[in-house]
């Protein structure tokens, strides 16, 4: 067990070293969400009546944060697929290290990267007028939620990466999964305008519950999402936690098993 943690930490450190050697990586992970902030804040935002004190940006930023961490799914999968393609995973597997260490280490690494990315995004939000009003404890708790959500999705990314194996395919798959999940949600617009069926989907969507939870923790009233009166939109914090636990309970063992059976 001690060895397993040590090995995983070495793999995690490798990812941080990559970031130190190629700092552009951080730019790649943040440039898209920053563009989204600008797009929604200044292009669409003017025509959206949020009914919030402080304006649309207060509703927008939680959506952007969740969308950003949701991208962890794809980035974990792509990173893993690239390592496999380049033969690095085979090298690791020929070493006398504990079996799960390589993928556990990667999820840690991506989680740490998420802290940096979230910090950059928070600064970008602050620059365009986002101001959480709930105080330091609740705000920190919101970021903890976001961090956990990214970590849970990272494990889906591991399974996707191991299954698809081709970085380019992973990218398309990642896009196909994250795109509808982030847009069929309350992240950018209220679910009220959606057809009834879509509205239910949007409100049960973990992205929506996360966004609603974050809005609540940042001190906003949650009227933007709670339109269908569904249980998740009434209890976003509990539902989000439940989703994270379920995701990890399913995907951590599945991914580890898949990795162990990779040699067949």
């Amino acid at each position: 067990m001690k060895n397993a943690i040590h090995d995983a930490m070495v793999i995690t450190k490798r990812q941080l070293l990559q970031l130190a050697r190629v700092p552009e990586l951080l730019v790649f992970s943040t440039i898209q969400p920053v563009m989204f902030v600008l797009l929604f804040r200044f292009v669409f935002g003017g025509s959206i009546d949020s009914g919030q004190p402080g304006g649309y940006v207060q509703l927008l930023m939680p959506g952007i944060f969740v969308q950003t961490v949701a991208f962890t799914l794809a980035s974990t999968a792509i990173g893993l697929a690239e390592d496999m393609k380049k033969g690095l995973i085979d090298r690791f597997r020929s070493l006398p290290i504990s079996r799960g260490a390589v993928i556990i280490g990667r999820t840690f690494g991506d989680a740490l990267l998420n802290i940096l990315v979230l910090a950059v995004m928070a600064l970008a939000g602050y620059a365009v007028g986002w101001r959480p009003t709930s105080g330091i404890v609740q705000t920190t708790l919101a970021f903890l939620f976001l961090f956990m959500f990214g970590y849970a999705l990272s494990w889906i990314g591991i399974l996707v990466g191991l299954s698809v194996k081709e970085a380019r395919t992973v990218q398309s798959v990642g896009f196909l999964v994250t795109f509808p999940l982030t847009f069929l949600s309350n992240a950018f617009a209220p679910t009220t305008g959606m057809p009834r069926a879509l509205q239910y989907f949007a409100e049960w969507n973990p992205v929506s519950t996360m966004v609603a939870a974050c809005r609540q923790l940042f001190g906003l009233k949650n009227e933007f999402g709670a339109t269908a009166n569904s249980w998740p939109s009434q209890h976003p914090l509990e539902t989000s936690l439940l989703y994270m636990v379920i995701l990890m309970a399913i995907f951590i063992p599945l991914s580890i098993r898949k990795y162990k059976n990779y040699s067949n």
Binding site: N3, H6, D7, V10, K13, R14, L17, Q18, R21, V22, M84, K85, K86, G87, L88, D90, R91, F92, R93, S94, L95, P96, I97, K165, E166, S263, N264
Partner: protein, 327 residues
């Protein structure tokens, strides 16, 4: 004692459609070098992957250092080093980063990892490039670093999968030098190659494989004897062809091969036979357009062993792409 034993390995891909290994057996005596020679798709890499515990065979049995690779892969991993097409290093990191990381993964302490990395970089002439990302390295430097990464804990048994494929002649020479040094240190080595010359240079024994099975095995000399060793090849004006054919046949004592203006036949004494031929042609007042000794290539070995040329049956395990440099 045998350090590596493989018995009747069978491996199929795509649910049995593609047979990568078809009852392959081989062994390597401790402290010796076995060269596994064959064209692309013959099963070389699959063999190495099974022996290095990266892949499970469908059937068959293999031991490395006396340990069963299927039952105790973890114990095998403590004994081996692997380098080649598949086992790679992290290209975004520097050479030094990589070696220290692998040292840590072999559970050396921090300082020991650093010391060992410096030692290996020095030994493989990479000290100057140590702080540069691997992606800026030349092909030869990359391979040397890759090899260094497999030597961190001084393994007793080493697998090198096509260590020089894709390198220029200079890089190949350097790599051969490095490998020969290793062998002097007493390591047991199994290396795969597409080049007869490489197997000749480095291996004590050669196993020729084709379509997933060993088709010939022996020392380089005995294989060459089977193939006919070097060939004398003379190109002349068409009018002189018959006369030259006579000369070559006499020197060779084997059937000659005549092709437009070129006569060739196997010879046993190389340059001595070449001189005899030159003298005979000089006496007959024939001026060759071209004359030389041709060393048998992998194609020649295959042609004489199997009756067909070395075909590239592309068996590419899904999702386990070959890296660049393959021709």
């Amino acid at each position: 004692m045998k350090s590596v034993i493989a018995e009747n390995l069978v491996k199929t891909y795509r649910k049995g459609e593609v047979k990568a290994l078809d009852g392959l057996s081989l062994d390597v005596e401790e402290g010796t070098v076995l060269g596994v020679l064959g064209p692309n798709g013959a099963g070389k890499t699959t063999t190495v992957r099974i022996l290095a515990t990266l892949l499970k065979p469908d059937s068959g049995h293999a031991t490395v250092a006396g340990i069963d690779v299927i039952k105790h892969p973890d114990k095998v991993r403590e004994q081996i080093g692997l380098s080649g097409q598949y086992a790679a290093v992290d290209e975004t990191l520097t050479g030094w980063d990589n070696l220290v990381m692998f040292g840590r993964l072999y559970h050396l302490g921090r300082q020991s990892s650093i010391d060992r990395a410096n030692e290996l970089l020095e030994r493989f002439d990479l000290t100057e490039a140590a702080r540069r990302p691997i992606k800026t390295y030349s092909g030869g430097m990359r391979r040397r670093l890759d090899l260094a990464a497999s030597l961190i804990v001084k393994p007793k048994i080493l697998f090198l999968d096509e260590p020089t494929t894709g390198l220029d002649p200079r890089g190949r020479q350097d790599m051969w030098g490095v490998i020969q040094e290793l062998v002097k240190g007493g390591v047991t080595l199994l290396l795969t190659t597409q080049y007869l010359e490489e197997a000749d240079q480095l291996a004590d024994e050669i196993a020729v494989i084709d379509r997933g099975t060993v088709i010939a095995r022996g020392t380089s000399d005995s294989l060459k004897k089977q193939v006919g060793g070097e060939r004398l090849e003379i190109t002349v004006e068409p009018g002189d062809l018959d006369k030259v054919n006579e000369i070559v046949a006499k020197i060779s004592g084997h059937a000659t091969h005549v092709d437009l203006r070129t006569v060739s036949a196997p010879v046993l004494h190389g340059s001595k036979d070449l001189m005899v031929a030159l003298r005979a042609m000089d006496e007959a007042k024939i001026h060759p357009l071209d004359i030389g000794l041709k060393r048998p290539s992998l194609d020649d070995v295959f042609l004489s062993l199997t009756g067909h040329v070395a075909e590239e049956t592309v068996v590419e395990p899904i999702g386990k792409k070959k890296r660049g440099g393959k021709k």
